[in-house]
């Protein structure tokens, strides 16, 4: 059995010294972290050219690659998982060619010097959970429909209709059919138009009155205009509050079981 390789950390190695280390790191599917002076060319869905400068490069074992400048949240260049990495010396420069066959994309990083070369093995099986998503809001409405309004009763959720899926379909206290569209952020024109698409379909199918309620933490200026002109309604509801409801419900479930 092959012994577990130790991690490698090199400060400012020469290109010649870095080459076998990077090659080995890539071929053994380890995490490659590079910092150094480089330029980058990209050709694929779009094209880009990045002049010389010092950046941080991350090559992951799943074939994803990130090139980060010293500022900004998003990488200046990148490739999604599934890329192949090739490394070689060319004209006294170390070139990493990143090739995504499926997407027909190529990226080439040309290094003229390194500040850091590191090969690590990160073991990560930690669980990740996200709360207060749109689906959390939908769940909260289904488990406690009164947060929309007193007497609201959901019939179905994610009902498929021609243009997409109606988030929640129900009836109000007067048995009037009600379409609910949920947004986890401030609702824009787009959300209103999405709701309109569903209403158009529902109105074709039935002649009875239908209510449309847009549910979101806030409503944009231009969105309100259209909403009002269409006769739709708005209900303020934050994803955080919905997450709270689900948390409480989760705790209550056992007592309810014994009712």
């Amino acid at each position: 059995m092959e012994k577990a390789p130790r991690q490698i950390i090199l400060e400012a190695p020469s290109l010649e010294d870095a080459l076998p280390i990077v090659k080995s790191g890539i071929s053994h599917k380890r995490l490659v972290i590079l910092a150094g002076r480089c330029s980058v060319e990209y050709e694929g869905r779009a094209s880009s050219s990045l002049g010389p400068g010092e950046r941080l490069i991350i090559l992951k074992s799943d074939g994803s690659a990130l090139i980060h400048r010293p500022k900004d949240y998003s990488p200046v260049n990148w490739q999604p998982p599934g890329s192949l990495f090739q490394t070689k010396l060319r004209e006294n420069k170390l070139v990493i060619r990143i090739y995504h066959r499926k997407d027909h994309e190529v990226m080439e990083i040309t290094f003229t010097g390194f500040k850091l070369v590191s090969i690590l093995d990160l073991k990560d099986s930690g669980e990740f959970n996200l709360y207060a998503s749109e689906s959390d809001m939908q769940q909260a409405i289904l488990t406690q429909p009164s947060i929309i309004e007193e007497g609201f009763r959901p019939i179905t959720s994610e009902k498929p209709v021609d243009p997409g899926f109606i988030d929640v379909l129900g009836v109000d206290r007067n048995n009037v059919l009600t379409i609910v569209e949920i947004k986890r952020v401030k609702a824009t024109k787009k959300a209103v138009l999405q709701l309109k698409k569903y209403m158009d379909v529902i109105n074709l199918d039935s002649n009875r009155k239908v209510r449309a309620i847009l549910v979101a933490p806030a409503l944009a200026e231009g969105a309100e205009e259209i909403l009002v002109s269409l006769g739709y309604e708005f209900k303020t509801l934050s994803p955080q509050y919905c997450a709270e409801i689900l948390k409480l419900r989760g705790g209550k479930r056992i007592t309810e079981y014994f009712k």
Copy 2:
């Protein structure tokens, strides 16, 4: 004058050894690169919880933060530029608190061990240029309108109308008003409906015939149906080809100047 600090690279330092290094790196606005076992809590627009595991953490001098797992393109947790970093030991763990006041967001990374701690200064003034964007497509159509069709003449671009902006407005060889909507990726239903919005507005204003042309590298299945039913047209055009046209035009400009 303060002397330029040298970069720091530590392999598997203790939490106690790492603390002053990380603190100093943050306060001196240098790039902080950490690899180690940690867990992450996030609270803001949403909330999330990430159990223990080994990750790569990047703290940039503009106050952006990235937490990368060993796989995937996108960070599992992050904060945009403008965040504040606080570091301290708590119950034998090193805690980095990342606080974004403007967005009311907090993220907390709790380290139980490090594999790598590095503080770097990256100098990067390289120029970045992106080609084959939607605006490149628009430029290409304006400089060489025949790529839409023979005889097409643009009148205006980015014309503001009620719902937004018409990408290109022009007339065809028969002087018929023509609306052009550009997409740099395969056009979906959404693009057709966007074009319809513009058409609805234009049709209100005038009674004369108007043509609607959707320009994109490809047309989605469902999109074609609607397009045909609305009597709109489709023209295949790739952003890469548009970038080529602009490159040629750019090279030609001098000769044209002497014509």
